[in-house]
Protein backbone atom coordinates (compact mmCIF):
# COMPACT_ATOMS: atom_id res chain seq x y z
CA UNK A 1 0.00 0.00 0.00
CA UNK A 2 2.91 2.32 0.65
CA UNK A 3 0.98 4.10 3.37
CA UNK A 4 2.90 6.07 5.94
CA UNK A 5 0.81 6.01 9.07
CA UNK A 6 2.71 8.23 11.46
CA UNK A 7 0.97 11.55 11.29
CA UNK A 8 3.46 13.86 9.68
CA UNK A 9 1.18 15.69 7.29
CA UNK A 10 -0.79 18.82 8.00
CA UNK A 11 -4.34 19.36 6.83
CA UNK A 12 -4.20 23.06 7.55
CA UNK A 13 -0.98 23.55 5.62
CA UNK A 14 -2.58 21.74 2.69
CA UNK A 15 -5.69 23.92 3.08
CA UNK A 16 -3.53 27.07 3.10
CA UNK A 17 -1.84 26.09 -0.15
CA UNK A 18 -5.07 25.06 -1.84
CA UNK A 19 -6.80 28.32 -0.87
CA UNK A 20 -4.01 30.38 -2.38
CA UNK A 21 -4.15 28.38 -5.57
CA UNK A 22 -7.95 28.72 -5.71
CA UNK A 23 -7.57 32.45 -5.10
CA UNK A 24 -5.13 32.72 -8.00
CA UNK A 25 -7.38 30.75 -10.31
CA UNK A 26 -10.61 32.58 -9.51
CA UNK A 27 -11.05 36.21 -8.52
CA UNK A 28 -14.44 35.30 -7.05
CA UNK A 29 -12.92 33.30 -4.21
CA UNK A 30 -13.22 35.05 -0.84
CA UNK A 31 -12.21 33.53 2.48
CA UNK A 32 -13.91 34.19 5.82
CA UNK A 33 -12.71 33.16 9.24
CA UNK A 34 -13.95 33.69 12.80
CA UNK A 35 -10.72 34.94 14.35
CA UNK A 36 -8.79 31.70 13.95
CA UNK A 37 -6.80 32.28 10.72
CA UNK A 38 -3.54 31.27 12.39
CA UNK A 39 -5.07 27.97 13.48
CA UNK A 40 -7.16 27.03 10.45
CA UNK A 41 -4.57 27.93 7.84
CA UNK A 42 -6.47 30.79 6.21
CA UNK A 43 -3.76 33.26 7.30
CA UNK A 44 -1.70 32.54 4.19
CA UNK A 45 -4.65 33.50 1.97
CA UNK A 46 -5.19 36.62 4.09
CA UNK A 47 -1.59 37.68 3.43
CA UNK A 48 -1.75 36.92 -0.28
CA UNK A 49 -5.19 38.42 -0.91
CA UNK A 50 -5.96 40.81 1.98
CA UNK A 51 -8.79 42.46 0.01
CA UNK A 52 -10.54 39.12 -0.33
CA UNK A 53 -10.18 37.98 3.26
CA UNK A 54 -12.65 38.72 6.04
CA UNK A 55 -12.08 38.10 9.73
CA UNK A 56 -15.54 38.49 11.25
CA UNK A 57 -14.32 38.05 14.81
CA UNK A 58 -15.35 35.32 17.21
CA UNK A 59 -18.87 34.88 15.86
CA UNK A 60 -19.52 31.70 13.92
CA UNK A 61 -23.21 32.32 13.30
CA UNK A 62 -22.39 35.66 11.73
CA UNK A 63 -19.57 33.98 9.78
CA UNK A 64 -21.90 31.45 8.19
CA UNK A 65 -24.73 33.84 7.32
CA UNK A 66 -22.28 36.41 5.99
CA UNK A 67 -20.77 33.78 3.73
CA UNK A 68 -24.33 33.12 2.54
CA UNK A 69 -24.66 36.81 1.64
CA UNK A 70 -21.37 36.69 -0.26
CA UNK A 71 -22.63 33.70 -2.27
CA UNK A 72 -25.89 35.52 -3.05
CA UNK A 73 -23.73 38.35 -4.39
CA UNK A 74 -21.96 35.91 -6.75
CA UNK A 75 -18.78 35.28 -4.79
CA UNK A 76 -17.37 31.85 -3.96
CA UNK A 77 -17.04 32.18 -0.20
CA UNK A 78 -14.95 29.74 1.81
CA UNK A 79 -15.76 29.97 5.52
CA UNK A 80 -13.31 28.21 7.79
CA UNK A 81 -13.59 27.55 11.51
CA UNK A 82 -12.93 24.80 14.01
CA UNK A 83 -15.43 22.08 13.05
CA UNK A 84 -16.86 22.07 16.57
CA UNK A 85 -17.66 25.78 16.56
CA UNK A 86 -18.83 25.81 12.97
CA UNK A 87 -21.52 23.39 14.18
CA UNK A 88 -22.67 26.13 16.53
CA UNK A 89 -24.06 27.69 13.36
CA UNK A 90 -25.63 24.47 12.08
CA UNK A 91 -29.07 26.03 12.10
CA UNK A 92 -27.83 28.92 9.95
CA UNK A 93 -26.18 26.39 7.66
CA UNK A 94 -29.42 24.45 7.40
CA UNK A 95 -31.90 27.29 7.04
CA UNK A 96 -29.93 29.65 4.85
CA UNK A 97 -27.16 27.84 2.98
CA UNK A 98 -28.77 24.43 2.45
CA UNK A 99 -32.32 25.70 1.94
CA UNK A 100 -31.25 28.19 -0.71
CA UNK A 101 -28.57 25.84 -2.10
CA UNK A 102 -25.97 28.59 -1.88
CA UNK A 103 -22.49 28.17 -3.29
CA UNK A 104 -20.74 28.32 0.09
CA UNK A 105 -17.77 26.14 1.01
CA UNK A 106 -17.55 25.41 4.73
CA UNK A 107 -14.27 24.06 6.05
CA UNK A 108 -14.31 22.52 9.50
CA UNK A 109 -10.78 22.16 10.79
CA UNK A 110 -9.54 20.47 13.99
CA UNK A 111 -12.25 17.85 13.52
CA UNK A 112 -12.40 14.51 15.30
CA UNK A 113 -9.59 13.86 17.76
CA UNK A 114 -7.01 15.98 15.92
CA UNK A 115 -7.13 18.79 18.47
CA UNK A 116 -5.77 16.54 21.22
CA UNK A 117 -4.48 19.29 23.51
CA UNK A 118 -7.70 21.34 23.69
CA UNK A 119 -9.81 18.50 24.99
CA UNK A 120 -13.45 17.48 24.81
CA UNK A 121 -14.91 20.93 24.11
CA UNK A 122 -12.90 21.24 20.89
CA UNK A 123 -13.15 17.70 19.55
CA UNK A 124 -15.96 17.58 16.97
CA UNK A 125 -17.35 14.06 16.96
CA UNK A 126 -20.79 14.89 15.54
CA UNK A 127 -20.12 17.07 12.49
CA UNK A 128 -20.39 14.30 9.88
CA UNK A 129 -23.76 13.23 11.27
CA UNK A 130 -25.00 16.81 11.33
CA UNK A 131 -23.80 17.65 7.85
CA UNK A 132 -24.61 14.49 5.95
CA UNK A 133 -28.26 14.81 6.89
CA UNK A 134 -28.60 18.14 5.07
CA UNK A 135 -30.18 18.25 1.60
CA UNK A 136 -28.07 19.79 -1.19
CA UNK A 137 -24.84 19.55 0.82
CA UNK A 138 -21.78 17.65 -0.33
CA UNK A 139 -19.65 16.31 2.54
CA UNK A 140 -15.97 15.55 1.97
CA UNK A 141 -13.33 14.20 4.36
CA UNK A 142 -9.87 13.95 2.78
CA UNK A 143 -7.39 11.58 4.39
CA UNK A 144 -4.07 13.21 3.61
CA UNK A 145 -2.55 16.47 2.45
CA UNK A 146 -2.71 15.59 -1.26
CA UNK A 147 -6.35 14.57 -1.04
CA UNK A 148 -7.05 17.76 0.89
CA UNK A 149 -5.51 19.91 -1.81
CA UNK A 150 -7.41 18.15 -4.61
CA UNK A 151 -10.77 18.07 -2.86
CA UNK A 152 -10.57 21.69 -1.65
CA UNK A 153 -9.77 22.86 -5.19
CA UNK A 154 -12.50 20.69 -6.68
CA UNK A 155 -15.08 21.89 -4.14
CA UNK A 156 -14.24 25.55 -4.75
CA UNK A 157 -13.54 25.68 -8.48
CA UNK A 158 -15.49 22.83 -10.08
CA UNK A 159 -18.47 22.08 -7.88
CA UNK A 160 -21.36 24.53 -7.69
CA UNK A 161 -23.34 24.25 -4.47
CA UNK A 162 -22.76 23.97 -0.74
CA UNK A 163 -19.91 21.77 0.47
CA UNK A 164 -18.66 20.83 3.93
CA UNK A 165 -15.02 19.79 4.06
CA UNK A 166 -13.93 18.02 7.22
CA UNK A 167 -10.28 18.42 8.11
CA UNK A 168 -8.07 17.43 11.00
CA UNK A 169 -5.13 19.47 12.22
CA UNK A 170 -1.53 18.19 11.90
CA UNK A 171 -2.44 14.51 12.07
CA UNK A 172 -2.58 13.64 8.37
CA UNK A 173 -1.07 10.35 7.25
CA UNK A 174 0.68 10.18 3.89
CA UNK A 175 -1.33 7.95 1.60
CA UNK A 176 -1.52 9.24 -1.94
CA UNK A 177 1.06 10.15 -4.51
CA UNK A 178 1.03 13.15 -6.81
CA UNK A 179 -1.56 13.20 -9.56
CA UNK A 180 -4.22 11.13 -7.81
CA UNK A 181 -7.76 12.24 -8.58
CA UNK A 182 -10.65 12.39 -6.13
CA UNK A 183 -13.95 12.81 -7.91
CA UNK A 184 -16.83 13.86 -5.65
CA UNK A 185 -19.03 10.81 -5.05
CA UNK A 186 -16.13 8.41 -5.48
CA UNK A 187 -14.00 6.37 -3.08
CA UNK A 188 -10.55 4.78 -3.17
CA UNK A 189 -10.11 1.04 -2.84
CA UNK A 190 -6.63 0.84 -1.32
CA UNK A 191 -6.86 -2.92 -0.81
CA UNK A 192 -9.52 -5.33 -2.02
CA UNK A 193 -11.60 -7.00 0.67
CA UNK A 194 -11.08 -10.72 1.38
CA UNK A 195 -12.07 -11.80 4.92
CA UNK A 196 -12.82 -8.31 6.12
CA UNK A 197 -13.81 -5.04 4.43
CA UNK A 198 -12.67 -1.92 6.28
CA UNK A 199 -14.09 1.50 5.45
CA UNK A 200 -12.56 4.64 6.84
CA UNK A 201 -11.88 8.32 6.06
CA UNK A 202 -9.79 11.24 7.21
CA UNK A 203 -6.89 10.71 9.61
CA UNK A 204 -8.26 7.35 10.78
CA UNK A 205 -7.57 5.96 7.32
CA UNK A 206 -3.89 5.92 8.29
CA UNK A 207 -4.65 4.23 11.59
CA UNK A 208 -6.92 1.71 9.85
CA UNK A 209 -4.17 0.99 7.29
CA UNK A 210 -1.81 0.12 10.11
CA UNK A 211 -4.47 -2.14 11.67
CA UNK A 212 -4.91 -3.88 8.32
CA UNK A 213 -1.16 -4.50 8.20
CA UNK A 214 -1.17 -5.99 11.71
CA UNK A 215 -4.01 -8.30 10.69
CA UNK A 216 -2.10 -9.35 7.57
CA UNK A 217 0.76 -10.59 9.74
CA UNK A 218 -1.82 -12.71 11.56
CA UNK A 219 -3.03 -14.06 8.26
CA UNK A 220 -6.29 -12.12 8.24
CA UNK A 221 -6.85 -10.42 4.94
CA UNK A 222 -8.69 -7.16 5.25
CA UNK A 223 -9.46 -4.75 2.47
CA UNK A 224 -9.40 -1.00 2.96
CA UNK A 225 -11.51 1.69 1.29
CA UNK A 226 -11.10 5.46 1.70
CA UNK A 227 -14.61 6.89 1.83
CA UNK A 228 -13.48 10.49 1.28
CA UNK A 229 -16.87 11.45 -0.18
CA UNK A 230 -19.30 10.95 2.68
CA UNK A 231 -22.09 12.56 0.68
CA UNK A 232 -22.73 11.63 -2.04
CA UNK A 233 -21.62 8.19 -0.90
CA UNK A 234 -20.09 5.61 -3.24
CA UNK A 235 -22.75 3.01 -2.39
CA UNK A 236 -21.77 0.66 -5.22
CA UNK A 237 -18.21 0.26 -4.00
CA UNK A 238 -19.37 -0.15 -0.40
CA UNK A 239 -21.84 -2.88 -1.41
CA UNK A 240 -19.37 -4.59 -3.75
CA UNK A 241 -16.46 -4.65 -1.29
CA UNK A 242 -18.73 -5.74 1.56
CA UNK A 243 -20.15 -8.62 -0.49
CA UNK A 244 -16.69 -10.23 -0.63
CA UNK A 245 -16.12 -10.17 3.14
CA UNK A 246 -17.59 -11.99 6.12
CA UNK A 247 -17.18 -8.92 8.33
CA UNK A 248 -17.58 -5.24 7.54
CA UNK A 249 -15.75 -2.69 9.68
CA UNK A 250 -15.95 1.09 9.81
CA UNK A 251 -13.24 3.15 11.48
CA UNK A 252 -13.66 6.84 12.22
CA UNK A 253 -12.79 9.61 14.68
CA UNK A 254 -16.47 10.45 14.98
CA UNK A 255 -19.52 9.01 16.68
CA UNK A 256 -20.38 5.61 15.30
CA UNK A 257 -24.01 6.69 15.26
CA UNK A 258 -24.62 9.15 12.48
CA UNK A 259 -21.12 8.86 11.10
CA UNK A 260 -19.66 6.49 8.52
CA UNK A 261 -20.71 3.56 10.70
CA UNK A 262 -24.33 4.53 10.20
CA UNK A 263 -23.84 5.44 6.55
CA UNK A 264 -22.34 2.03 5.71
CA UNK A 265 -24.96 0.22 7.82
CA UNK A 266 -27.68 2.03 5.87
CA UNK A 267 -26.20 0.95 2.54
CA UNK A 268 -25.78 -2.67 3.64
CA UNK A 269 -29.25 -2.88 5.17
CA UNK A 270 -30.64 -1.78 1.80
CA UNK A 271 -28.39 -3.97 -0.35
CA UNK A 272 -26.51 -6.91 1.16
CA UNK A 273 -27.07 -7.24 4.92
CA UNK A 274 -23.77 -8.03 6.65
CA UNK A 275 -22.40 -8.20 10.15
CA UNK A 276 -20.83 -4.86 10.86
CA UNK A 277 -18.36 -3.69 13.49
CA UNK A 278 -18.48 0.05 13.94
CA UNK A 279 -15.29 1.43 15.44
CA UNK A 280 -15.19 5.08 16.51
CA UNK A 281 -16.55 6.98 19.46
CA UNK A 282 -19.82 5.88 21.03
CA UNK A 283 -21.36 7.46 24.13
CA UNK A 284 -18.29 9.26 25.34
CA UNK A 285 -16.44 12.52 24.95
CA UNK A 286 -12.77 12.98 24.24
CA UNK A 287 -10.23 14.38 26.65
CA UNK A 288 -7.18 16.61 26.56
CA UNK A 289 -3.97 14.78 25.80
CA UNK A 290 -0.30 15.62 25.34
CA UNK A 291 -0.13 13.91 21.98
CA UNK A 292 -2.42 12.58 19.28
CA UNK A 293 -1.17 9.06 19.94
CA UNK A 294 -1.95 9.39 23.64
CA UNK A 295 -5.52 10.43 22.82
CA UNK A 296 -5.96 7.51 20.40
CA UNK A 297 -4.82 5.23 23.19
CA UNK A 298 -7.30 6.75 25.65
CA UNK A 299 -10.12 6.44 23.11
CA UNK A 300 -9.18 2.83 22.36
CA UNK A 301 -8.44 3.69 18.74
CA UNK A 302 -4.82 2.62 18.26
CA UNK A 303 -4.01 0.35 15.29
CA UNK A 304 -3.28 -2.51 17.71
CA UNK A 305 -6.63 -2.19 19.49
CA UNK A 306 -8.53 -1.86 16.22
CA UNK A 307 -6.79 -4.98 14.85
CA UNK A 308 -7.54 -6.93 18.01
CA UNK A 309 -11.22 -5.89 18.02
CA UNK A 310 -11.54 -7.03 14.40
CA UNK A 311 -9.80 -10.31 15.21
CA UNK A 312 -12.09 -10.83 18.20
CA UNK A 313 -15.13 -10.26 16.06
CA UNK A 314 -14.01 -12.88 13.54
CA UNK A 315 -13.78 -15.67 16.10
Amino acid sequence: MGVIVRPNGSYRRALAEALIEAGRRSRDVVVLDADTPKSTGTLAFAREFPERFVNVGISEQDLVAMAAGMAIAGKIPVAAAFAMFLMRAWEQVRNTIARDGLNVKLVGTHAGLSDFMDGASHQALEDVALMRTLPRFTVLAPADARATRELVLEAILSHRGPVYIRLGRDNAPVIYSEGEEFPIGGSKVLEDAVDVAVFSYGPMLGVAAEAVRILRRQDIHAGLVDVYSIKPLDKDTIARQSAKASLVVTVEDHRVHGGLGSAVAEVLAETTPKRILRIGVADAFGASARSYEQLLEYMDLTPERIASRIRGELR
Binding site: V30, E51, D62, A68, I72, A73, T96
Partner: protein, 251 residues
Protein backbone atom coordinates in the same frame (compact mmCIF):
# COMPACT_ATOMS: atom_id res chain seq x y z
CA UNK B 1 -26.19 38.85 -8.35
CA UNK B 2 -28.32 35.71 -8.20
CA UNK B 3 -31.10 36.69 -10.57
CA UNK B 4 -31.44 40.26 -9.34
CA UNK B 5 -29.95 42.09 -12.28
CA UNK B 6 -33.25 41.55 -14.08
CA UNK B 7 -35.51 41.64 -11.03
CA UNK B 8 -38.95 43.01 -11.92
CA UNK B 9 -38.63 45.18 -8.83
CA UNK B 10 -35.96 47.24 -10.52
CA UNK B 11 -38.04 48.16 -13.52
CA UNK B 12 -40.84 50.02 -11.79
CA UNK B 13 -40.72 53.69 -12.52
CA UNK B 14 -40.95 56.04 -9.59
CA UNK B 15 -40.63 59.77 -9.36
CA UNK B 16 -38.08 60.82 -6.81
CA UNK B 17 -39.24 63.41 -4.30
CA UNK B 18 -42.71 64.65 -3.25
CA UNK B 19 -44.76 63.42 -6.23
CA UNK B 20 -43.31 59.91 -5.93
CA UNK B 21 -43.97 59.89 -2.21
CA UNK B 22 -47.62 60.94 -2.77
CA UNK B 23 -48.15 58.05 -5.19
CA UNK B 24 -46.52 55.71 -2.68
CA UNK B 25 -48.73 56.85 0.20
CA UNK B 26 -51.86 56.32 -1.87
CA UNK B 27 -50.74 52.83 -2.93
CA UNK B 28 -49.81 51.89 0.64
CA UNK B 29 -53.30 52.88 1.75
CA UNK B 30 -54.85 50.59 -0.85
CA UNK B 31 -52.48 47.82 0.20
CA UNK B 32 -53.54 48.22 3.83
CA UNK B 33 -57.20 47.66 2.95
CA UNK B 34 -56.24 44.59 0.91
CA UNK B 35 -53.93 43.27 3.64
CA UNK B 36 -56.66 43.49 6.29
CA UNK B 37 -58.96 41.46 4.03
CA UNK B 38 -56.17 38.98 3.24
CA UNK B 39 -55.31 38.50 6.92
CA UNK B 40 -58.93 37.66 7.67
CA UNK B 41 -58.86 35.14 4.82
CA UNK B 42 -55.79 33.39 6.26
CA UNK B 43 -56.96 33.32 9.86
CA UNK B 44 -54.92 36.30 10.99
CA UNK B 45 -51.54 34.56 10.63
CA UNK B 46 -48.97 37.01 12.09
CA UNK B 47 -51.46 39.82 11.55
CA UNK B 48 -49.86 42.37 13.86
CA UNK B 49 -46.39 41.87 12.45
CA UNK B 50 -47.64 42.03 8.86
CA UNK B 51 -49.63 45.20 9.46
CA UNK B 52 -46.75 47.03 11.13
CA UNK B 53 -44.36 45.97 8.33
CA UNK B 54 -46.58 46.97 5.42
CA UNK B 55 -45.48 50.61 5.21
CA UNK B 56 -41.85 49.54 5.43
CA UNK B 57 -42.36 47.03 2.61
CA UNK B 58 -44.12 49.70 0.57
CA UNK B 59 -41.32 52.21 1.11
CA UNK B 60 -38.57 49.71 0.33
CA UNK B 61 -40.09 47.79 -2.59
CA UNK B 62 -42.32 50.52 -3.96
CA UNK B 63 -39.87 53.40 -3.77
CA UNK B 64 -36.35 52.84 -2.49
CA UNK B 65 -35.42 49.87 -4.71
CA UNK B 66 -36.70 51.28 -8.03
CA UNK B 67 -35.37 54.75 -7.12
CA UNK B 68 -31.94 53.17 -6.86
CA UNK B 69 -32.04 52.25 -10.51
CA UNK B 70 -32.67 55.85 -11.44
CA UNK B 71 -29.70 56.85 -9.28
CA UNK B 72 -27.41 54.16 -10.68
CA UNK B 73 -27.28 52.23 -7.39
CA UNK B 74 -28.15 48.56 -7.12
CA UNK B 75 -30.54 48.23 -4.18
CA UNK B 76 -31.61 45.02 -2.50
CA UNK B 77 -33.88 44.16 0.39
CA UNK B 78 -33.14 41.26 2.73
CA UNK B 79 -36.13 40.19 4.80
CA UNK B 80 -35.04 38.98 8.21
CA UNK B 81 -38.45 38.89 9.90
CA UNK B 82 -39.99 36.43 7.47
CA UNK B 83 -43.31 36.15 9.28
CA UNK B 84 -44.35 39.45 7.72
CA UNK B 85 -44.84 37.56 4.44
CA UNK B 86 -48.57 38.44 4.11
CA UNK B 87 -47.58 42.12 3.86
CA UNK B 88 -44.94 41.34 1.23
CA UNK B 89 -47.29 39.23 -0.90
CA UNK B 90 -50.11 41.77 -0.74
CA UNK B 91 -47.67 44.50 -1.73
CA UNK B 92 -46.37 42.48 -4.66
CA UNK B 93 -49.94 41.87 -5.81
CA UNK B 94 -50.76 45.59 -5.56
CA UNK B 95 -47.66 46.18 -7.73
CA UNK B 96 -48.91 43.56 -10.19
CA UNK B 97 -45.81 41.39 -9.67
CA UNK B 98 -47.88 38.44 -8.52
CA UNK B 99 -51.48 37.73 -9.49
CA UNK B 100 -54.32 38.64 -7.16
CA UNK B 101 -55.69 35.09 -7.50
CA UNK B 102 -52.28 33.69 -6.52
CA UNK B 103 -52.74 35.16 -3.03
CA UNK B 104 -55.36 32.46 -2.46
CA UNK B 105 -52.61 29.83 -2.73
CA UNK B 106 -50.76 31.33 0.26
CA UNK B 107 -49.05 28.73 2.46
CA UNK B 108 -50.16 25.76 0.39
CA UNK B 109 -47.30 23.32 -0.34
CA UNK B 110 -47.22 23.92 -4.09
CA UNK B 111 -47.48 27.69 -3.88
CA UNK B 112 -44.69 30.17 -4.55
CA UNK B 113 -46.10 32.04 -1.56
CA UNK B 114 -44.79 30.08 1.39
CA UNK B 115 -45.69 31.23 4.89
CA UNK B 116 -42.08 32.30 5.34
CA UNK B 117 -40.65 33.46 1.98
CA UNK B 118 -38.50 30.99 0.04
CA UNK B 119 -35.96 32.64 -2.26
CA UNK B 120 -35.93 29.76 -4.74
CA UNK B 121 -39.68 30.13 -5.29
CA UNK B 122 -39.56 33.89 -5.75
CA UNK B 123 -36.45 34.57 -7.80
CA UNK B 124 -35.77 38.23 -8.29
CA UNK B 125 -38.25 39.20 -5.58
CA UNK B 126 -36.83 37.59 -2.46
CA UNK B 127 -33.07 37.63 -1.84
CA UNK B 128 -32.81 34.94 0.82
CA UNK B 129 -35.16 32.53 2.53
CA UNK B 130 -36.24 33.42 6.03
CA UNK B 131 -38.25 32.06 8.92
CA UNK B 132 -35.37 31.65 11.32
CA UNK B 133 -34.83 34.94 13.09
CA UNK B 134 -31.59 36.84 13.52
CA UNK B 135 -29.79 35.98 10.29
CA UNK B 136 -30.79 38.74 7.89
CA UNK B 137 -28.30 41.38 8.96
CA UNK B 138 -25.37 38.99 8.55
CA UNK B 139 -26.62 38.09 5.07
CA UNK B 140 -27.05 41.76 4.17
CA UNK B 141 -23.52 42.46 5.41
CA UNK B 142 -22.16 39.70 3.16
CA UNK B 143 -23.92 41.13 0.11
CA UNK B 144 -22.78 44.65 1.00
CA UNK B 145 -19.17 43.63 1.63
CA UNK B 146 -19.07 41.75 -1.69
CA UNK B 147 -20.03 45.03 -3.37
CA UNK B 148 -17.15 46.83 -1.65
CA UNK B 149 -14.74 44.11 -2.78
CA UNK B 150 -16.06 44.33 -6.35
CA UNK B 151 -16.18 48.12 -6.39
CA UNK B 152 -19.89 48.03 -7.23
CA UNK B 153 -22.40 50.68 -6.11
CA UNK B 154 -24.86 48.66 -4.08
CA UNK B 155 -26.98 49.32 -1.01
CA UNK B 156 -28.64 46.63 1.05
CA UNK B 157 -31.59 47.20 3.34
CA UNK B 158 -32.61 44.58 5.84
CA UNK B 159 -36.00 44.39 7.53
CA UNK B 160 -35.69 43.37 11.17
CA UNK B 161 -38.34 42.93 13.83
CA UNK B 162 -37.86 44.51 17.24
CA UNK B 163 -38.48 41.19 19.00
CA UNK B 164 -35.93 39.65 16.68
CA UNK B 165 -33.29 41.87 18.26
CA UNK B 166 -33.22 39.36 21.15
CA UNK B 167 -31.17 37.10 18.88
CA UNK B 168 -27.47 37.44 19.68
CA UNK B 169 -26.49 37.06 16.06
CA UNK B 170 -28.05 40.44 15.23
CA UNK B 171 -25.49 42.07 17.49
CA UNK B 172 -22.63 39.97 16.14
CA UNK B 173 -23.62 41.33 12.74
CA UNK B 174 -24.12 44.89 14.02
CA UNK B 175 -20.53 44.84 15.27
CA UNK B 176 -19.30 43.36 11.98
CA UNK B 177 -21.02 46.01 9.84
CA UNK B 178 -19.41 48.73 11.86
CA UNK B 179 -15.99 47.02 11.98
CA UNK B 180 -16.00 46.63 8.19
CA UNK B 181 -17.32 50.15 7.54
CA UNK B 182 -20.41 48.90 5.73
CA UNK B 183 -22.05 52.26 5.09
CA UNK B 184 -24.06 50.62 2.29
CA UNK B 185 -26.18 48.73 4.83
CA UNK B 186 -29.45 50.08 6.22
CA UNK B 187 -31.18 48.12 8.99
CA UNK B 188 -34.87 48.97 9.08
CA UNK B 189 -36.36 47.99 12.42
CA UNK B 190 -40.10 47.45 12.67
CA UNK B 191 -40.52 48.87 16.19
CA UNK B 192 -44.06 47.65 16.76
CA UNK B 193 -43.37 47.18 20.47
CA UNK B 194 -44.68 43.61 20.36
CA UNK B 195 -43.11 40.19 20.33
CA UNK B 196 -44.57 36.72 20.54
CA UNK B 197 -45.43 36.67 24.22
CA UNK B 198 -46.33 40.32 24.69
CA UNK B 199 -44.99 43.87 24.83
CA UNK B 200 -41.27 43.96 24.06
CA UNK B 201 -40.50 46.10 27.09
CA UNK B 202 -42.07 43.48 29.34
CA UNK B 203 -40.47 40.42 27.73
CA UNK B 204 -36.99 41.84 27.28
CA UNK B 205 -36.63 45.62 27.03
CA UNK B 206 -35.12 46.94 23.81
CA UNK B 207 -34.75 50.57 24.85
CA UNK B 208 -32.78 52.71 24.57
CA UNK B 209 -32.78 51.26 21.06
CA UNK B 210 -31.27 54.08 19.00
CA UNK B 211 -28.53 54.47 21.60
CA UNK B 212 -27.70 50.76 21.31
CA UNK B 213 -27.16 51.02 17.56
CA UNK B 214 -25.17 54.22 18.04
CA UNK B 215 -23.03 52.45 20.63
CA UNK B 216 -22.27 49.79 18.05
CA UNK B 217 -20.93 52.47 15.72
CA UNK B 218 -24.07 52.94 13.64
CA UNK B 219 -25.91 56.06 12.63
CA UNK B 220 -29.46 55.64 14.02
CA UNK B 221 -32.57 57.65 13.14
CA UNK B 222 -36.28 57.21 13.76
CA UNK B 223 -39.34 57.61 11.57
CA UNK B 224 -43.08 57.26 12.17
CA UNK B 225 -44.82 54.23 10.63
CA UNK B 226 -45.90 56.00 7.45
CA UNK B 227 -44.86 54.89 3.96
CA UNK B 228 -43.90 58.36 2.69
CA UNK B 229 -42.06 59.23 5.91
CA UNK B 230 -40.12 55.96 5.79
CA UNK B 231 -39.25 56.47 2.12
CA UNK B 232 -38.07 60.01 2.82
CA UNK B 233 -35.96 58.77 5.72
CA UNK B 234 -34.45 56.07 3.47
CA UNK B 235 -33.64 58.73 0.86
CA UNK B 236 -31.83 60.77 3.49
CA UNK B 237 -30.00 57.76 4.94
CA UNK B 238 -28.79 56.60 1.54
CA UNK B 239 -26.89 59.87 1.21
CA UNK B 240 -25.02 59.42 4.50
CA UNK B 241 -21.58 57.85 4.31
CA UNK B 242 -19.08 56.45 6.76
CA UNK B 243 -21.22 54.26 9.00
CA UNK B 244 -23.93 51.61 8.69
CA UNK B 245 -27.36 53.04 9.27
CA UNK B 246 -30.36 52.01 11.37
CA UNK B 247 -33.87 53.30 10.76
CA UNK B 248 -36.19 52.63 13.67
CA UNK B 249 -39.79 52.76 12.49
CA UNK B 250 -41.95 53.70 15.46
CA UNK B 251 -45.47 52.45 15.91
Amino acid sequence: MNGFADSPLLFRNVDLGPSGLRVLAEKAERARTRLIKFLSEIGGWHAGSSLSSLNIVAALYGYWVPAGRALGVERLVVISKGHMAPALYVWLSIEGLIGEEELETFATPWSRLQSHPEAARLRGLVVSSSGSLGQGLSIANGIALAAKIDGVRREVAVLLGDGELDEGQVWEAAATASAKGLDNVIAVIDRNMLQHTGPTEEVKPKEPLAAKWEAFGWHAVEAPNDAAAIAAALDALSKLRGRPKALIVRR
